[in-house]
């Protein structure tokens, strides 16, 4: 059954309440829970972080929206807490990082496979190959710094191989921009996909910027610095796909619709009953937020929100391994580059990006250094025995 945004009333705002005990409940098990449960937690934390970020920016630009946004933001703050605190303390920052890259690969691949706009799908596949390489570099870092096996986090769903080399991903700022879709003609799914990926990449960037300085090892610190810079480029790319002429309320509505849509998909696919109950509760809360945003659109813009969304949204992408798809894209599109708004063969890359990259890498690239000669093996590269399956 697909989600209908306008049918369910959701939980009224005044009944969206938490206690500290509820907000800080039992975390998932790093060992026993499915990797895709962690993927959903990391993604939805990023979605809630974006809700707060957007809500604050919108409040600075609109007097009339300040009060309703403040009310919704307070709840989003606590939703984000409840979701993000599901990660147990036995996840080291580096293990959580491996989880973030699994999100970046599997969610981006799933969005690319279901994206109706070919240009947006191309943008997704382009950055996916870069995140795929980040996983390889962080895996090398994990193995060589801590002696841990990144596949304990990935649970065999995601391959650990080089993608477009991180050191070749640095581009001049204008080459990271993309051509925005048109709010009047873009499919609702395209709009939602763009929201999801922008939020996910922004959270990934912020996470790396926060944990990078927690590492003692200088090459770990450099690796986080280098990959965080690419995540900033990815946010630049993805947010520039958004039509900048959308009104604030239209953008707000899109945020709330997307949150509901994603929680709906989480609830549908979650095998852990305790976590599933959280996703269901969050879905009802988001439908309540969506209703409030709809009322604001009717009151202040005299527009019918139903014009923006179909009666039923399509089913959410499945949370599953996209190994074959990633492998195909690797074979076809590894050598792509950017020139302004266009995806071009590497030979046509802009001079500005080539020069920018040469300068930035002129004292060496940490992701090249940390992964030099790295070949993932089951049980780390120190394990020379073949694995019995």
């Amino acid at each position: 059954m697909a989600l209908s945004l306008f049918d369910g009333k959701g939980t009224p705002l005044e009944r969206q309440r938490f206690t500290w005990r509820e907000l800080v409940g039992k975390p998932i098990s790093k060992l026993d829970d499915d990797a895709f449960t962690r993927v959903r937690i990391i993604l939805m934390n990023g979605i809630e972080a974006e809700a707060l970020r957007f809500g604050h920016n919108a409040a600075r630009m609109s007097a009339e929206l300040r009060e309703p946004l403040a009310a919704v933001r307070r709840i989003e703050q606590h939703q984000q807490t409840m979701v993000n605190w599901l990660l147990g303390a036995d996840h080291s920052p580096l293990e959580t990082t491996i989880g973030y890259e699994q999100v970046a690969i599997e969610v981006t691949a799933a969005l690319a496979r279901t994206e109706p706009d070919p240009y947006v799908a191309q943008a997704l596949r382009f950055a996916m190959l870069e995140d795929f390489d980040h996983l390889y570099r962080y895996s090398a870092l994990m193995d060589r710094l801590t002696g841990m096996d990144p596949n304990n986090i990935l649970q065999c769903y995601t391959d650990i191989l080089p993608g477009r080399p991180t050191s070749a991903e640095h581009r001049a700022p204008h080459d990271d921009l993309a051509r925005p879709w048109d709010k009047r003609t873009a499919a609702p799914l395209t709009k939602l996909h763009t929201m999801t990926i922008t939020a996910g990449e922004q959270q990934t960037h912020d996470y790396y910027m926060n944990v990078g300085p927690m590492f003692a090892d200088p090459i770990a610190r450099q690796t986080y610095a280098e990959i965080a810079s690419i995540e900033e480029q990815h946010v630049t790319q993805y947010e520039s796909l958004l039509d900048p002429t959308q009104s604030l309320i239209e953008q707000w509505l899109l945020h709330e619709a997307n949150e509901a849509y994603l929680y709906y998909g989480c609830a549908q696919q979650e095998p852990n009953p305790r976590i599933k109950a959280i996703w269901e509760r969050m879905l009802d809360y988001e439908l309540g937020h969506f209703r409030l945003a709809c009322e604001c659109m009717k009151r202040y813009e005299k527009r019918d929100p139903a014009e923006l969304f179909p009666e039923q949204l399509p089913e959410l992408f499945p949370y599953e391994s996209n190994r074959n798809f990633v492998r195909e894209v690797l074979g076809r599109e590894l050598e792509l580059a950017k020139r302004g708004l266009d995806f071009v063969p590497r030979s046509d890359e802009s001079r500005a990006s080539i020069d920018y990259r040469a300068q930035l890498n002129s004292a060496g690239s940490p992701t090249d250094i940390v992964a030099a000669g790295y070949h993932w093996r089951p049980g780390t590269e120190l394990n020379l025995r073949a694995v019995n399956l």
Binding site: A35, P162, G373
Partner: protein, 251 residues
Amino acid sequence: MEKSSELTLKNRTGMQLSPRHARELLETVESAGAAIPLENGQALAAARGAYIAEADPLGTLPAPATLKGVLKSGAKMVAGLRPQVFIDKLAERAAFERGGTRLYEALLAKFAAEARASRNIAANTDLTEERLVRMRAEEAEHFALVSECIETLGADPTVETPSADVIGVASLGLLQVVSDPRTSLTQSLQALLAAELIDREGWELLITMADELGERDIVTRFREALRQEDEHLLSVRRWHVSLSLGASGAD
């Protein structure tokens, strides 16, 4: 709640539980080409070396603020061991004993919760709340003792010295283990055992240093602290072994 020693089919970290995905993973990784010759992280080692060569220290020791401190420091500079090294290690011990006190408090919370449910604890007749409370009190007394000595030597017991900083970093994981509600008493005791082993070695070194500097009174008082730490170590080691054997069904 399932105990962590129970067997289930839930642990998803290994490859054998998901043979289809594991086979696909191995195929993809192997089809990507022959293994690149292992460099054993030589590039990484070189880059680390360059940073180490240029690194600043974590920090420095403060100069003694009091006249007494300056005099003492100057008077003994001529001997082999410099008093400031002793002060640095005393501050390390003070930090560790303070942290150790908190570690016992975290362990007491776990003990109280688990004592109600576990028959293994009953088998360890001297693993009691009273005994743990006393060990906690002794850690706190050791903190007070070391702080007093630092002051007697004319230094500031509120300073965080480089060695105190280092021991704080080194013990982060121990507190994470004991304070996690999901870890068992046995798992927590293993972290405490590591703490007591570190602690014992710390006192040994302090006694050697105090002896070298001719601080007879300190040597006497620290020997008593070491005797208590020896008792802690023996008890924690015995409890840990006993509970580990009990958890594996040997009781």
